[in-house]
Symmetry: C2
Subunit: 641 residues, 2 copies
């Protein structure tokens, strides 16, 4: 269905049931999905679909509660793909029944603007999330239909989408509006792909094309509400929602990070479907800006809580990093689409960086608690997430839920759908993006190719592929050579071979025989990574990275006062696999120096004295697994000495 | 009038018309006071006293506009003390006439709650600043009466204070409330001192004693407004306004920093007047907490904009430091009172630290622009003050005014009143706190002692005192030996002498003859200061300080990328006086290393390489004068290498 000749191999064709991601997906299915359903129930989010809210209820719906149910349904759908589960499917169907009943005669569907503030329907696109909620429900409907073949939610959302398509558009009597929180654009492209109805693609394109045009729609609707569009706008700038200029003129990633990346993903979808090079050029510029100037080493983006988003080039604070889980997830969505517009490993390198670090840090190892913000350093009482009062907590820890609960179900739907990020096909080639134990059946040239990956990546350097092409078939197996890897070796059936590399993918072009074996070894030395010198926060510091995995020091392993730990340049840390730690991870150990911080006077300041440094053995663990043991300090960027 | 035997020498007896502070006070009088009046006029703050506000006006009063006029009047009053100025006095009288007319028949006086929301009088003490405004008006009234003898504003405020005293109190029918923004407590003690009316002292004591008692008054009034006292309270904690526990049980400085220090100042006043050791003990604990764990080297306090206040021990971020100008000023107020409760130099050391650094940085050298927040490092586009949208400015610069305009007139009243901080008298002694060219007539033992200080402090180490005691009189001249000074020499009439030192004051006890000369030399080597190791932000860094003056590097002198400047331990910086720079300041120059930041790839991250370091000559200027030349980076805490 992609206009572009390269397309992802669908989730249903890829099974990840072992290895690093197998464990995470399993936890997601067994722990996270049920817990999230319980939270939806407990907090009133499911009951709210009955639209019978009144002041006597124990809850009051938020303006975007709909999206929480939607993302959970979408996650459940993906999970059902590989793990049929009657109980789960019945729960989803119950929620869908409620949603269907909540649809208004004209097709409109929204909890808050039906049950709480019906008078405010479409009154504030800028701040009030109606189109955002619609988008998530469309995504859920498409996913659930694709997995189960059940049309109920899809039909509901088609009715709603038709209604939205009547309300919004360029014609007389229509609103020339667009969402304040982007999301529906990419959802409408999904709806177009599943229904074949051009109108949904057109509407997605309209929302994208109209954004940032003069006069700003958000100003017009603010005035219609009797508000001053500038003075009464809390965010103070249209950059907050990326409507400051038309999207094709945007050159820097600005504003709310999730809004931004959902929009870029939607732009990429529209670009793919409409073959629009002007959108692609804008996206490439924006990609360059975010990855070269505004992204944490973890793939986290959006450094500040002030706008939950971007600030300026090279501004990457560590302990107050917002780096919202949803923003890293949105970066994954965008990166994946970029590859299919512009098949280059650099997009998947970032996707991998985010997955193994800034996304996965968002959920505890047991799948039950979640980070909203993902700082790169932690100290007692430093809390980058505003949901917790400043002085009510000593340690920044994962939470069971949030009032604004976008991140937990977003994690769930990403992990449950991880299979779709492993492979793509196109131009007589199979692209391998991610290395992970997985089995796949890949349609190529009217043939089904079976590929099984065996690997303990990212802990091990070697990935083995068993390729079953029956009958034998000629095609290219294109293996991503990650940007962090400086030495890759490929063997086919035990024979070392050299390959052409195109756009970062090593191309093995041959006629594949049943039982062919490929062995890829990605040299994975421990690296000390430094940051661009203009990132003032990391001056004099480095991070430990091995393969795609960024490491950190935690207090539980290294004692307190991590700010006073120095790793001497001549230290030679070693990597060992610890099967008993955190479910089995590679750890880094080595010699460090710690400043003796005892015997200070009762004073904040004193004339400097030569610090007494004591050697000790440090241990670093993968950043994504921090905060799974006893609370304490954490630090990614380490002082070199 | 102080119950305590030590009391400050009043402003009217001390003239500072030369030297470091003479220049600042002169600028304050010539530039700042007129500009602030123009701003009050231009923004509607004066017109608003007419109480004829309606939606058609170009302005809408804030809830605490009254306080802006009040602080300006108070500043003008202090200025008139040494510089009679008919024009200025006429302007003040005009404003006072408006204020008088704005008083309601029952004595109530407030712009917003008369002209805009009369129905909300006293409805929300927690957030709405009525008592705060009353306090500032009382301070203005007392000051203006003391200088001019004119009673109009004083009488207005006496009527208002009587009305407030009827409304609030422990008796039946009275509200057991207290201010959400403390300030009136110290003002009521001033009113008590000038009128001799015990009821004002009692009311101040009531506000202090009642604060933090159960059930919390702020919760009761929130419920009366139909609000949930927790969920609907934006700050989320009573710590925000220091009403979480009774004041005598408080052990840590918490919440909004200005509220906190105004309260501590008020507590000190009540403690002094009521001889209450329980208040003094609480204040000493709080003092210890703030100065040993929560204060910048500049005397700035309150590191975050989230609550405009305190966070937790040892949390002192630099480039996002809030360190509100008003908070440093409030610390001066509190410190001064602490000395008079507990005569020890440590209080004046902090007062001096704040004055020369975190207070004075709040105003430009020409007196026309102001900082609200006073960060200790600046980078393009880093903006710790929320009044400016995040991405609308490249450099954090002083502003001409603020919507919330507390800082500019607070600076004006402090500078105009600086004379009162120089000396105290008590127990047959004259205490010299501040070293600054000044002339004073000091009443001691029914005699007037004239003291003239001659000094170019803080640039020079030597202070000369000419003491005229006619007839000769026996008393102690107690000279503060600042905490930063490790070698002080005293000569009397050219003869070196050794003295007893008590609580940090060198006591020269003799019978003074007319024409006696004292020469104090405070050894003022350049020091590298380090921070308590638990302040993670300053790990591996030091600051340059000489005497009370903290230094910083600015981009205009040192080029960009200050994060990559290293001052080698063996560097021996020199101090020179540059009469052409910033009105004449001592500068520090020396050898530093700068990392070569050229030739980076278009990437944020790379495997570490050995940095190439280039030597260069650095120049540091006094922190208080930063941002007076071309915009750029600034840094107080420097990397040692």
């Amino acid at each position: 269905m992609y206009a572009n000749p390269i397309e992802p191999v669908a989730l249903k064709n890829v099974t990840i049931d072992r290895g690093f991601w197998g464990a995470r997906i399993d936890t997601n299915r067994r722990a996270t999905l049920p817990i999230e359903y319980e939270q939806l129930k407990k907090t009133g989010r499911i009951e709210a679909w009955k639209l019978d809210w009144n002041e006597g209820k124990s809850y009051k719906p938020h303006r975007f509660w709909d999206s929480d149910s939607a993302k959970w349904i979408e996650a459940a759908a993906y999970s059902l793909t590989s793990h049929p589960d009657e109980h789960l499917e019945a729960l989803v169907d119950e929620v869908i029944d409620l949603i269907e009943k909540a649809q208004q005669p004209d097709g409109y569907l929204n909890i808050f603007y039906t049950a709480v503030e019906p008078e405010n329907r479409w009154a504030n696109l800028r701040d009030w999330h109606e189109l955002y909620c619609a988008g998530h429900l469309i995504e859920a409907a498409v996913a659930y239909y694709q997995v189960t073949g059940k049309r109920k939610l899809l039909d509901v959302m088609i009715r709603y989408a038709k209604y939205i398509d009547q309300i919004f558009g360029p014609n007389k009597g229509q609103k020339r509006g667009y969402p304040g929180h982007q999301e529906i654009e990419l959802a409408l492209v999904k709806l177009y792909r599943v229904t074949g109805q051009q109108r949904y693609l057109n509407l997605a394109k309209f929302f994208i094309d109209e954004r940032g045009q003069q006069p700003p729609y958000f100003d017009l609707e603010a005035r219609a509400r009797g508000e001053d569009p500038v003075k009464d706008y809390w965010a103070g700038t249209h950059k907050y929602n990326q409507s400051h200029v038309p999207v094709r003129e945007q050159t820097e990633v600005v504003g709310h990070a999730v809004r931004a990346c959902y929009m870029y993903a939607g732009m990429a979808d529209v670009a793919a479907e409409t073959n629009d090079p002007t959108l692609v050029e804008a996206l490439q510029r924006l990609w360059q800006n975010v990855t070269e100037k505004r992204m944490y080493i973890t793939g986290g983006i959006g450094p500040t809580l002030r706008n939950e988003g971007f600030t300026f080039d090279y501004d990457l604070p560590n302990d107050m990093a917002y780096a919202e889980t949803c923003a890293a997830i949105a970066l994954v969505f965008w990166a994946h689409r970029m590859f299919h517009l512009d098949p280059d490993r650099r997009y998947i390198d970032v996707l991998e960086r985010a997955l193994y670090n800034g996304v996965l840090s968002g959920v505890s190892l047991d799948g039950t608690t979640f980070f909203y913000a993902n700082p790169l350093a932690a100290f007692p009482e430093v809390n980058p997430y505003p949901g917790v009062p400043l002085d009510e907590t000593r340690h920044y820890r994962r939470s069971e839920w949030f009032d604004c609960a976008c991140c937990p179900p977003n994690l769930a739907r990403l992990l449950a759908n991880l299979g779709q990020y492993v492979y793509s096909t196109g131009k007589n080639a199979i692209y391998v993006h991610l290395y992970t134990a997985a089995k796949a059946q890949i349609d190529l040239n009217d043939q089904v190719i079976q590929i099984e990956q065996q690997t303990n990546y990212p802990w091990d350097e070697t990935v083995r592929f068993a390729i079953q092409s029956e009958p034998p078939g000629q095609f290219t197996l294109a293996l991503r050579l990650p940007g962090w890897c400086r030495q890759a070796n490929i063997k086919v059936n035990g024979q070392a071979m050299s390959t052409m590399t195109e756009q970062g993918y090593a191309r093995i072009d041959r006629t594949w025989q049943p039982g062919d074996q490929v062995e890829l070894t990605l040299s994975m030395p421990l690296e000390r990574i430094e940051t661009h010198p203009r990132v003032r926060q990391n001056a004099g510091r480095f991070a430990l990275q091995r393969g795609p995995v960024v490491y950190c020091l935690e207090e539980v392993d290294n004692g307190p006062n991590l700010a006073h730990v120095i790793i001497p340049r001549e230290s030679e840390p070693a990597v060992t696999f610890d099967r008993n730690l955190l479910g089995g991870v590679s750890v880094i150990t080595g010699q460090a120096l710690r400043r003796d911080v005892q015997n200070w006077p009762n004073a904040l300041y004193r004339p400097i004295e030569s610090p007494k440094m004591t050697p000790f053995a440090f241990k670093a663990i993968p950043y994504c697994f921090w905060a799974n043991r006893q609370p304490g300090e954490m630090q990614v960027w380490l002082r070199e000495g």
